[in-house]
Each structure stands twice: as C-alpha cells, then as structure tokens.
C-alpha cells in the first residue's frame, strides 16, 4: 500500500522501478520550457550582436572609397574616434532621456496612485485609457505631435500669447523632443508604478494618518518607499528606450537636437559607415548598462523588502 502511494517521480523509487524513464523525462521539462526563448535570443540577439561587434572592428577595403565595402580587422580605433566625435550627442541623448523620464515620473505617479488607490470601479477603464495610445502606431502619434506643436498650432499660439515660449516656438526645439519622448513612453512609466502602488494595503496609508503623519509625510515615509521597485522599473522602461530613440528627435527636433539614435541611423543608412555605426551602438549599450547599474545600486533595492 505504502509503496504504491509514493509520490510520482520520487527518487527512491527510480532505481528499483522497472521503468526508470518517467523521473528522467520530468527533469528535462524545465529545459524544454526554456528552449524556445533561449533559441530565439541566441538566433536574433546574441549572434547578431556578435556580428555587429565584428563589424565595429572592421576597416574599409579601400580607405578612399568606403562604398567598396569593409574587411575583417581588429580596428579598436573606431571606438575612440566615435567617442571623440560623438560624446556631445551621447550627453544630449542621456540628458533628453533623463528629463523625459523625470517628467514622466512626475506625471505618472499621481495618476498611477489615483488609479490604484482611489479609482474604485473605474480602475480598469482608466487602465485601458492609459494603454489606448498604443492602438495607434508610434510613428503616427509622433507625426500627430509634429502638427500639434507646429508654429501655426493653437498650442503654440496660446503659449506665445501667455509669453511662455522664450523661442516663440516649440517644434524644432529641445522641449519638443523631450515632450515627445515623455509622451511616447508615458504608459511604460504608468504601468509599473500602478502595479507597485496597487499592491500597497490602503490600511498602511490610513495607519500613517492615524499616527499623526500629514498626507504628504505619510506618502514620503511609507507609500513612496513601498512603491520604490515600481519607480525603478518605470524609470528604466522609459530611460533605456528613450536614450536610443531617433523618431522623436527626427520629427520634432532641429538638427541641433539630434540624439545618438539619429547618429547611428545616419551612419548605417546614409553614410554606410558600418563600423562607426556598430561602435556607436555598442557604446550606447555599455553606457546604459553602467548608468542602470549605478542607479539600481544607489536606489538600494535590497532595502525595500
């Protein structure tokens, strides 16, 4: 009785059992589940990344005419050239992405808080509204902003009437690019914030008030720290894609507002200087990884739970 009732796949039974197969099959299952994702990443991410790294080290076959193509080499100098030529554009990209993230967090936090803690039965309607912009394409939305911010638009007219615009216009200024980035990545900021604030027990917020904390103090001491993981993932989900974005800068900015995405785009598609384009991409990845690591470390996530 007891032998037949042993849990399936129990290790003690495997040796004596005439059919040793079932436990073995079971142990393969996790790998089978992992396989599709791993293969996908290997084929479409790791291998191309390797090719791109190799490309970044290539040199022109004919240095006087790059159109002849490139040959394999270990030309690390491309990286140094890229840094010295493009460091300002990198700085600008991270500044724009950082500002867009900051503005996004300021806009999204109160909204996410309201949806999560106060919206009641309207919660799901509001969440659908948050993701509604995704029903239109990214490109289309950015074109819409281009016309919304154009010099003849009512937004600019009102802004000028109130003397809010020092340059007299919005389009083709850094403001347009930053606002465009903020707008396009806002749902990515709202959703993780919502997810983390929604998990906070409303009684904790009541408890702060019961213990003499005014609403803002209660938020600063309890709600904000508890929503910390949400703030971090929201910031990353906005900052990382915004740093590499090129659509907003191209459609909404001037030539002086170019971001690193535009530079990479130009090197790949116009100049056809593949090694430089690849080196710029790798540098972008490296710097983002450094920034993200520093950010997560300093935010002290381990202290949040």
């Amino acid at each position: 009785m007891s032998a037949t009732l042993t849990a399936p796949g129990a290790p003690t039974n495997a040796a004596s059992s005439p059919e040793p197969n079932p436990p073995k099959k079971r142990s393969k299952l996790p790998y089978l589940l992992l396989a599709p994702g791993m293969i996908w990443l290997a084929v479409f991410f790791v291998i191309p990344l390797g090719f791109m790294f190799a490309t970044s080290l290539q040199v022109p076959i004919n240095p006087d005419n790059p159109d002849k193509g490139y040959k394999p080499a270990l030309h690390l100098h491309t990286y140094f050239d890229a840094i010295s030529q493009y460091w300002q554009i990198y700085l600008r990209s991270f500044a724009y992405a950082g500002l867009a993230t900051l503005i996004g967090l300021c806009l999204a936090y109160p909204l996410a808080y309201f949806i999560a803690q106060r919206a009641g039965k309207w919660r799901y309607v509001m969440l659908v509204l948050v993701v509604a912009p995704f029903f239109a394409s990214f490109l289309l939305r950015t074109y819409a902003w281009e016309s919304l911010l154009s010099d003849n638009s009512w937004v600019v007219k009102i802004g000028n009437f109130l003397h809010l615009l020092p340059q007299g216009r919005i389009l083709s200024t850094p403001i347009a690019v930053i606002f465009g980035l903020t707008y396009n990545f806002l749902p990515f900021v709202i959703l993780p914030l919502y997810a983390s604030i929604e998990r906070i027990d409303p009684r904790l917020i009541e408890a702060t008030s019961d213990l003499y904390a005014k609403p803002f103090t209660g938020w600063r001491k309890v709600t904000l720290p508890l929503s910390g993981p949400g703030v971090i993932s929201a910031a990353l989900l906005c900052f990382i894609p915004a740093s590499g974005d090129f659509i907003n800068a191209r459609l909404l900015g001037s030539i002086n507002d170019r971001m690193i995405g535009n530079a990479i785009d130009q090197q790949f598609n116009n100049v056809r200087d593949y090694p430089t384009a690849a080196a710029l991409s790798f540098l972008l990845m490296a710097v983002i990884m450094v920034i993200v690591t520093i950010y997560i470390r300093s935010a002290g996530t381990e202290d949040l739970l």
């Binding site: 009541e206 008030s209 019961d210 904390a213 949040l304 739970l305």
Partner: protein, 394 residues
C-alpha cells in the same frame, strides 16, 4: 509609563452618529454612546453590524453622515485622523513593512517631534516584551509578535482612546487566548480607554468591562458581560452572545414571588423581578448550561421548572456533553451538562426531563424573532435536521 502619563484621560462621546454609504446602505444608525475614560469597552456584533464603521468614524478614517464625535468636551467630528488623540490597532496590524520594529513604534512620536524618543520606544518595547526584536522587520516576526508591535505603536502615543479593530482575528485559537490576557494586562497597566471591535463573543466577555452588542447599526444592549449574558434583553443578544433556549409563553397566574408561565401547556415559574413588568404573552429563555438533564424517575430531585423530551443528539466535548433534546412541541432544546463523575449519560432516543431554577430564566418581549442573531448556516442546518427527522418519522 506612569510618570509620563497625561494628567487626565477623557471620556469618548458619540452623539447621534450615523453613517450612510453612497450606495445607500446605512452602516451605523443614530448611535449615541458614552465610553467612560479608562474602561475596556467592546463593540460586539456580527460582520456588517456597523461596529468597524463606528470605530473608523472615531479614528477619523470615515466621516459621519450625521452626528458628532467628542473626546472629552472637544468636538473631533471634522478633525483629520492625524489631529485626533486617538490611535488604532488595525486589523492585520498594518505595520510599515519598510521600517524595522523600532521605527514602526517610533513613528507617531517622530511625527509629533516628541523628545526622548529612544527612551520611550525602549520602555514601550519592554512593556510588550519585544525589546530584543527592535531591529527586525515586521515580516520576520510571528503573528503574535506583530500584534504586540501594533499595540505598542499605537499606545506609545498615549492616546485618550485606543481603538482595536478585530486585533486578534488573524491569530490561532491558543495564541488568541494568550493575547486576550496580555491585552487586558496592558490595559490595566496603562489605564487608557480601549475600544475593542470584535465578532467573537468569548473574546469580548473575557476582556471588556462593558460590552455593547451591535446589530444593524444600532446597539441592542449595553452592560457588563455578566449582566448581558445572564439577562439578555433581546432575542438577538440571547442568541448571539452564547446560546439560548427560547420559548413562547403566556403568563397564566402568580405563585408567590413568581409568575406562572404557560409554555405549550407546561407551566414554569419566572421570578416577577425578572419579568420586567411583562404580562400576557412573552418569550421565556434559559441558557443551556443552566438546564439540568435527568431521567424521569429522578424528576423529583431536579429543579422546579421541568420539560420532558427525547434526546436526539449527544456530543461529548470533553469538559461537557452537549445534548439536543426534542420537546413534545417539536422544539429542539440545547443542554450543556458538565462532565462530572456523577453525571449520568444519555443515549439518543432516551426519554429525559430537562429542568432549571426559575431564577436562571430571563424574559423577552413577545414580538421578538426567536431566530434573531443565529448564524444563517446554523438556521439552514436546523431546517435540514428538521426535514430529515420528519422524513425518518414518516
């Protein structure tokens, strides 16, 4: 604690307190109540009776639709929670998970910029016997320890009133009994008014000096536990606080200091002093542990009020045996017979006499609903058992 005590603790007054929610439900209905300073007061009732809403209005977490809340002579009705001399021990404790135990307890003091935070927090952690756990996070504590932190975090502010919202609901039975005694000890030690909300009648009786039994947003009866238990004023109280055998009857005469009440043809005595001036139709009640059970041959040894019946169920619970006995008029009566060496045991189907002293009776108005305060599940079971036995008989 005593040296830092405030000169005076204040009474809590609730005047015509009413709360109607936007969906039209009235949770609390014109409640007027004074809770004396320093008392351990229990608001007892089933879920949805308005007890938690009452507590939340005192805390300032809910705004009354009508009525006022006073602490002493100060009107607190419109004050936000952070300006009230009232602190709450929340259901499931609501400890701040991002802070350690020490900081949780210090939270209220720090907000009010009180001096000597460290000494006070240490003294409070000593009081609740958690001084060694100050640097732990709430998640690293057991349920009982978290419960004590929640009490410490509220009490350290020396509120005029400490509100406890089902504070022991999440603990297992043994721990709950221990914490009841512990809470009572703390209350006696600090002398603060405790207002305790619970649906557990045993918990309310163990801890409170005064119990208010609430039903449908109103107070059914208010008094000391013994008083409410022995002389319930409504069927709801009789059934919700412990169990009761309730009979419909008519006063048919007097006999010395007693009224004679006819219940389905059986004449029983009810002391006139307990009848509350009632005459004619009334409801007569007796608690199951007051009822003696015996064989018909020994009826003469049993108390004055006697009803015959047939045992339909006997469950042995260790310290007592619970009998269900069917009276001739088909009512199931409950009897708790204490497990003494001398007690005779009866099997199902045994013909028995149930008897009780007249002074152990209580009287209710004739228009009371005898099933008020019974759990819906209990009522369903009673119906089911009745149906089953009807089937077996036919």
């Amino acid at each position: 604690m005593t040296d830092s005590h405030k000169s005076q603790v204040e009474d809590l007054h609730l005047v015509n307190l009413t709360k109607t929610f936007p969906n039209g439900a009235t949770a609390v209905d014109d409640l007027t109540l004074t809770i004396p300073a320093g008392s351990f007061f229990a608001l007892l009732g089933p879920s949805g009776c308005g007890k938690t809403t009452t507590l939340r209005m005192v805390a300032g977490l809910e705004e009354p639709t009508i009525g006022r809340v006073y602490v002493g002579d100060k009107d607190m009705t419109t004050e936000p929670p952070y300006r009230r001399p009232v602190n709450t021990v929340f259901q499931n404790y609501a400890l701040f998970p991002n802070m350690d135990i020490y900081e949780n307890v210090a939270f209220g003091l720090r907000r009010r910029k009180v001096a000597d935070v460290d000494a006070k927090v240490r003294a409070m952690l000593d009081l609740v016997e958690l001084s060694t756990l100050g640097r732990r996070k709430p998640s690293q504590l057991s349920g009982g320890q978290q419960q004590r932190v929640a009490v410490a975090r509220a009490l350290i502010n020396q509120p005029d009133v400490l509100l406890l919202d089902e504070p022991l609901g999440a603990l297992d039975l043994k721990l709950r009994r221990m914490m009841q005694i512990e809470l009572k000890r703390i209350q006696v030690e600090v002398g603060t008014t405790f207002v305790h909300v619970t649906h557990d009648q045993e918990e309310a009786m163990t801890m409170a000096d005064t119990i208010a039994v609430m039903n449908l947003g109103q107070i059914e009866q208010l008094g000391a536990p013994v008083e409410i238990y022995e002389q319930p004023k409504t069927a709801f109280v009789a059934n919700f606080l412990g169990q009761s055998n309730l009979f419909r009857g008519v006063v048919s005469g007097t006999e010395g200091d007693n009224l004679v009440v006819d219940i389905n043809g059986v004449k029983v005595a009810l002391p006139t002093s307990l009848a509350g001036g009632r005459s004619g139709k009334l409801v007569l009640g007796v608690r199951p542990e007051k009822v003696k059970i015996g064989s018909s041959e020994r009826a003469h040894e049993l108390p004055r009020n006697q009803v015959t019946g047939v045992v339909t169920d006997a469950s042995f619970t260790g310290l007592s045996t619970q009998y269900l006995v069917r009276a001739p008029w088909d009512q199931e009566l409950i009897v708790f017979e204490q497990n003494l060496a001398a007690s005779e045991r009866f099997e199902n189907g045994a013909e028995v006499v149930l008897a009780w002293e007249p002074r152990h009776s209580f009287a209710l108005d004739a228009d009371e609903d005898l099933t008020a305060g019974l759990d819906e599940d209990v009522l369903d079971t009673i119906d089911l058992v009745a149906d089953l036995s009807a089937e077996t008989e036919s």
